[in-house]
Amino acid sequence: MNHQHIVSHLPYEKPFLFVDELTHVDTKGATGSFTFHREMYFYQGHFKDHPVTPGVLLTECCAQIGLVCLGIYLLQGEGVPMSNLQVGLSSSEMEFLLPVYPGEKVTVHSEKVYFRFNKLKCSVKMHNEEGQLVCKGILSGMFKNTADE
């Protein structure tokens, strides 16, 4: 399964797709990038007259690239059909070290802690274009294929 194929199976679309490119994925982790374009709607309100990317969206970006892309890859490896994939974030513990301003491109890298019984737990890190660590943390999600039911 190629990288773009995995991105095409993500259960998100604009304005809530936070993956531009998946650059690497294997059984241990995933790497990908996203550019927070200046025109994105949330900058109008976060914050008033001082646009900064909300931490929840940095978390979401980490989850979509690091957790969901990796989960799709791992499930595909187990032969699970991807047509009716559902995913739920079950826990997140993030630390935010630097702000991400409109127009910045970020790179997310995840490392699998475990994938058992359809639960994927990973450590994630996000870096900006200067290679500085923006945020890091531990994310877990449950995967479900509704075609099973």
């Binding site: 739920g88 079950s90 826990s91 475990y114 058992r116 019984f117 359809n118 639960k119 877990s140 999600g141 449950m142």
Partner: protein, 83 residues
């Protein structure tokens, strides 16, 4: 390890994942993890992983599917320990 010991050990694991609105005293052998103890499927996986470590056993997907109540978990643990 006696059955009482195994039950006590399992209860110690379960209590970590109980939501705040469920008291430890509400755990009994017949308790259903999801319907009665309000443990979600993600935390049920954590319980299984902790059980694996605590009892030095490995559970399969079928075991996970069968593990509805505390007694189910005890039966699965017993079975694995006898293997």
């Amino acid at each position: 390890m006696t059955e009482t010991d195994r039950y006590a050990k399992l209860k110690e694991i379960i209590r970590i994942y109980l939501p705040e609105d469920v008291a430890v005293t509400e755990i009994s052998a017949s308790s259903h993890f999801i319907n009665e103890l309000n443990i979600n499927s993600a935390n049920l996986v954590d319980i299984v992983l902790d059980v694996e470590d605590a009892f030095d056993i490995t559970l399969e997907n079928e075991d996970m599917d069968q593990m509805q109540t505390v007694q189910d978990a005890l039966d699965i643990i017993d079975g694995k320990l006898k293997e």
